[in-house]
Structures are given as C-alpha cells and as structure tokens.
C-alpha cells in the first residue's frame, strides 16, 4: 500500500505490504538503519522511535498507523553535525559498549527530556526501563542523561 510518512521532519512516500511494521519500513525502505531490530515484540527497546512525542516500539506499529504520526528516529536527533545533548552526553560518558541498544536509549532519553527537562534519577530509570542492555552500561547511561539535563 502507498503511504506518506512524516519522518525526521520530512515527508516520505513509500509503497509497502499492508502489514509492514514501521520498523521494517524505516530500515528497509527509508535506509534509516539506526533503529535496530531486537525482539519484534516491544520488549527490549532497541527499535524505539519518538512518535508524537512519546518513545514507542516501532516493531509494534504498522507503517499505516505511523502515517498519522510525527516520527523521529535516532538519525533525526542531531541538527546537522550538531548533536542532541543526549547524544553528546552518551559519547562523553562512554555510556555504551557494543552500541546496539544505544539508539533506543537515546530516543527514550530525548523523549523524557522533552517533557521533563530536569528529571531525577528515579524518573530517568523509569523512562529508560524499557531499554534492555546486555553489556551493562545502565549506570553510565543514567549519568549521561543527568549530564544532558544539566
């Protein structure tokens, strides 16, 4: 089916199978591979995008549903070469190891800071609780979000 998505501030026209997920359309039709596949069930956070201001699992949205929303992916966080504060903070805190879960964490953190510019640690942990990391950078990621907020 033909759809017009709004991704990272631009209109993107695609022609995809009826039940295609937003995740597969981002990765396979729009070459936005920064959004990662992790579980396909909304349980790990690797595929999070910001949809109308909220961090959501793009594997659980169909592209058709997403067509009615403003979508921001990790590629849309920076303004040109100017990184978003959470991107800068994650790099500065070295809050990553393999980096596979990083995109999803950045999305959760950016969505949090947009609605609460100075969250406490509990709010940060809650906002990122849907992002699983197997390398174990949770402590650094909390510090990175705190740094981005300050």
């Amino acid at each position: 089916m033909k759809l017009a998505l709004t991704v990272n501030g631009a209109r993107r026209d695609v022609d995809v199978p009826p039940n295609a997920t937003l995740l597969s359309v981002l990765r396979d039709d729009l070459a936005l591979t920064g959004t990662r596949y992790g579980c396909g069930r909304g349980q790990c956070g690797a595929c999070f995008v910001i949809a109308d201001g909220r961090a959501v699992a793009s594997c659980l949205l169909t592209a058709d549903q997403a067509a009615r929303m403003e979508i921001t992916t990790v590629e849309g966080l920076a303004r040109g070469e100017d990184l978003h504060p959470v991107q800068r903070a994650f790099a500065e805190e070295d809050a990553m190891q393999c980096g596979y879960c990083t995109s999803g964490m950045l999305i959760s953190a950016a969505a949090l800071l947009a609605r609460d510019p100075s969250p406490d640690e509990v709010a940060i942990r809650d906002a990122l609780a849907g992002n699983l990391c197997r390398c174990g950078v949770y402590g650094r990621a909390v510090r990175a979000v705190q740094r981005a907020a300050s």
């Binding site: 597969s24 596949y37 579980c39 069930r41 990553m96 809650d126 609780a129 197997r134 174990g136 402590g139």
Partner: protein, 663 residues
Amino acid sequence: MWDRSDPERLEQRIRLERDGTVTAFSGKIDFGQGIRTAFAQLVADELDVPIDRVHVVLGDTAQVPFDFGTFGSHSIAQETPRLRKAAAFARRQLLERASAKLRVPVDRLDTDRGTVVERGDRRIPYADLLNGTPLTGAVPDQLPLMPDSRRRYVGQPLPRIEARDIVTGRATFVADVRLPGMLRGAIVRPPGRGAKLRSLNDEAARKMPGVVAVIREGNVVGVVAEREEQARAAAAAVEAEWHLVPVEGPSADVPMRSDAGVDRALARASLRLAQTYVLPPIANAPIGPSAAVADVRPDGATMYVGTHRPFGVREQVAKTVGLPEDTVRVLPQITSGSYGRNSHPDAAIEAAILSKGAGRPVLLQWTREEEFAWSPSRPEALLEVTAGLDPDGRILAWKYDEHTNVHTAAGLDPQVLSVTSGRNAIPPYGPFAAKVTLHLEPTRLRTANFRSLAAAENVFAIESFMDELAAASGQEPLAFRLRHIEDPRFRRVVERVAERSGWSGGTMPARHGRGIACTVYHDTYVAQVAEVEVTMSGQVRLLNVWCVVDPGQTVNPDGVRNQIEGGIQQSASWTLLEELRHRDGRVVTTGWDAYPIATFNDAPAKIEVLVEGDATRPPTGVGEPGAVPTAAAIANAVYAACGARVRQLPLTRERVRKATATG
C-alpha cells in the same frame, strides 16, 4: 598462508598512507570492549602520530594477519607487544629514510607528531618519506620502544572511537549492510537440534509474494524473498517433515590437580565442611539476534558477519559452499555484544547456503525466538567442594569436583578442557593439598562459550565456600581469605577493595549486608564487595558494588572501568534473575518475558571500579575478569544481610526465603 608461527611482518600490521594517516591491522574483534580505541592509542604513541590519524582495521581476512580468535580477554595482552613493535619498527624506518634524505645521522633526528625533525629545525612529514615505497620487513623481536614519558595516549581515558557513529545511528551493524540485489532470508526450523529432513513441500511457499526461491541443502531449508516479512511468511508456509535424532554433548573426566595426601588430610582435619553449589544454564542473550550477510558467487564469496573468529568463519564457509578458502573474504562488522555467542557462525553458514542457492546476496536476520531457541547456552554446573581446617583455622586440604557440560568447541584434549570447561576450578589460595577434578557430562542442550567460560561458575562455588569455611570456623571472611593469599598483587586488590568499601567500619542498616569475593583470571587480579538489601519476602536488591582491578599496565583506564562495570552488571543479572529452561535440549524460554534480564530499575545505585594496575607488569585483559567474582559477592552479601546461605542460582525470592527459614 599467514600463520601465527611466522614472524610478524610490518606490512601486515602498519601501513603509512599517502595522506599521512596510518592504518593498523589486527585480527581481533571489538564487540564493545574498546580494543579499537586501545590499539589506536598504542600505535599513535609508538609511531608518534596524532591519534585521529590512526585508523584500525579489525578482522578483515583480506587485510589482517591470521588470528585464532577473540577469546579469554587476551586481545590487549597478545596484541600490545605486536602492535608496539611493529609501530616502533615503522618509526625507525622513517627515521632511517629521513637520515638518508637529509644526509644526517639518525641520532640527530627525532619524531614529533607525524613528522621527522632535525635539530636544525628541518621537518619532514612522514608522508613525504613514502615515495611510493611502503614500509615493509620482518619486525625484529628486540627493538627499543617509546619510553613511557613520551607516550601521550596510553594511560589516558579516551572515549571510544566509534562513539559518534553509534550515537548518530550511522554505525553499520551486520544487519545494516545493504548490497545491490540483496535478498532476505528466513530459515525453516526443525522441531529439534540434529533433526534430519524427511520430506519437503514448498509448493505454496514458492507462490507467495516476493518469494524468489526455496532452498534446501542437506538439513538446512530456507526461503529467500525480496522483503523480510515475505521470507518469514513463506518459511512458515513450507511444509517440512523431520526425523528427530537426539544429539548429546561429550563426556570426559579430567584430573586437574592431584596433590598427595588430600584424603588423609581431610580425615584428620579438626573441622571438615562439604557443600554443593548449583548454577542453571543461561543464555548469552545478545540484544541483537544473530545476523549475517552472504554474497556467494561462483568465483568467491564475501561475508559480512559478527564473529569472534573471522578466519574460522572463512574456513567453515569455504567448506560449506565448496569454494577455495582464499576466495572467501570475511568482513566483520560492528556487532551486538554477544559475550561468546558469536564463536559459532550459525547465521553466517545459513546465509551462505541461501546466497549460493539464490545466486544473489542474502541478509539473514534471526528472530529473537530463534536466538534463544537455537543459540548455544552457558552450561549448567554442579560444584562439590570439601575442605578441612587445622586447629588454627587454616585450610589443610581441598577437594573439588566440577560437574558441567562442554563450554567450547575447542576440543576434548585434557589440557584444553582444564583451561576451558575447567577454567578457574583450581582455587587461587594456598598453601594446601588439593584434588580438583573436572567431570564433563553429556547434555542434550546445545552448550558453548559464555563470558569467562567456567570461571564464573567455579568462582561462585569457591568464593561462597570460602565464606562458609570462615563462618564455620568463626573467622572474619576477609581475614580468612588474606591468610590464604600468597601473591602480593592478589593481596593488594583484596585489601584495597576492603578499604575502599569501608569493609571493617560502621554498621549496616537492618537487612543490609556486604559480601566479598575475589579471583585471579588470566593474570588479572580482581576483588569485589557487594552490598545488598534483602526484603522480608526474600527479594534481593543489589545496592552498591565496589571493585578493585589490577590488569598490569593500563592502556585506557576508562575503557577498563567500562568493561568491569559491565561485567559486574551482567553477572548481577544472571545471579539474581536468569535461568534458561529446556526440555530435552529444546529451549522453552524464548523471549524476554520468559527470560527476563536486569533492567535500569534493577541496576545498583553505584558500581565503583578502581583501576589500580601494576604499571611494571605487562597489560592483561579486562573483558571477562570483572564478571567472575560478582555472583559470590552477592550471595555472600545475602548471607550477611539475613543469614540465608543460598547455594543455587539464581537467588530467587523463594530460595532466599527458604534458606532464611532453615538458617
């Protein structure tokens, strides 16, 4: 064939480019350990160039020297001397070339950030010394290295080179590779491991939208289609009948240490204690399931993979698709951390079969369910330990039987088994007589590499038991350990972690407790203290962890901290939460709901890691050691908090409550 027994060749390690940048080559792989950054630090210092001019190529079989694999926290230990010597040799050649060009003796020349300088102020950029003649030659084994005083980068906590690509989403993970004409694959899975295909009906699948082919080779059946959704839908529509053939892992008995007089000493000990510890199988559980891109052509193949063993993948793929090995190029990509899982190139082999069958490049992305169900797991372990103390409370004798399944595909040679499936079974304490035996037992579960192999299991048992021995003989756990530690470096990390965590001072709130554990893992010394709170219902909350590590000379202290913190966090997860369940080898916990791991809400308030490497000692690895003592530190803290000695992982609420009741 470039073999590790050959002398190192400069051109295989360091290449000076025409633009003055430097390319360094290593067969090791970076899964997030930060070795790319550490290697750049080492080379930049030794060759005296700014670090942003150093580009590190890892694992590309067409470019890097042979490497057996990235295992056992060996990357820094093995590659540091090789890269340093090669870079030093390159620098010496550049000085010699400048000497000839300027007609001045070498001793009047020096280097300064990518240029050769003469005392009279003449400067020649390295690139101007190339003249189309690359730097080559056998790297001498003995040559002077850059003195520490002139090393700018080694020892500095530099951020990861890949950081910007990762935070912008630009980093190309395996599943992000896009090739012209590339198809998507999906595998038709049998009901169990080792099943043989009896019959296949793919008529309906072939007619489905987007399907290009259904491919069968031996017992591998897969679909290739234009889109992933289409490949998956068609794979589900393939009707296959299978014949189940049970597959079992190997068995063996390996005496690892057999001192005389152990049984006699145990018989006459004034205090004898015997306990059994149990760990369940666990999943490597990478956040990114396995993936591979294969481009198999009649005359050769290119493989884009995540692997610990690029040269091993080359050999296996070549054999699978019937190509000479030298026509296969393996190009490792950035890959999800896999903690040993990528030692087995399952997705790569399958993708190669599909690509060969389709005659086009194929991306195969495993699903989450496939990853849990078909990956190898860390084996279960049952550890029996008996020790006897003399009247003064010192250990006289130690008997240890490790029962587990095979931990690697490295082979069943007793020497190999004792350092793989039996890793760290010999206690780091002494002096006493010890008998340590590894019993490898068969299992239908597919088992293989997980971070530190058997070390984390053995150290859980040994360090829990050290606490139990101390308690049984009325000794303080820290003092009891120190009485049995002879190595001064080991002593120091244990004393330092006690100091740092305030081990001997202050009182704990009710139901809070601290536990200590320590080990020596491949010459890295590590000691940890964990602090927990145990609720009335037996729920364990990890509050704080302190760790002191001595990995010898430290290339990147923040990289070391990150690795150790991660190891602690990951081990806390499996200590408190994880158990892979299977029926006759078929994994039933195939999603994050059935196999929960620690989340942001489970992470402790603080993990403090002090990197206190002995700078006079060669660098050792840090990828695994931090993960090794954590389970025992937590279990010992639970005991201190509420008197519950739990000898079986994970430390669930039910087990803790039951152990509290029985004291």
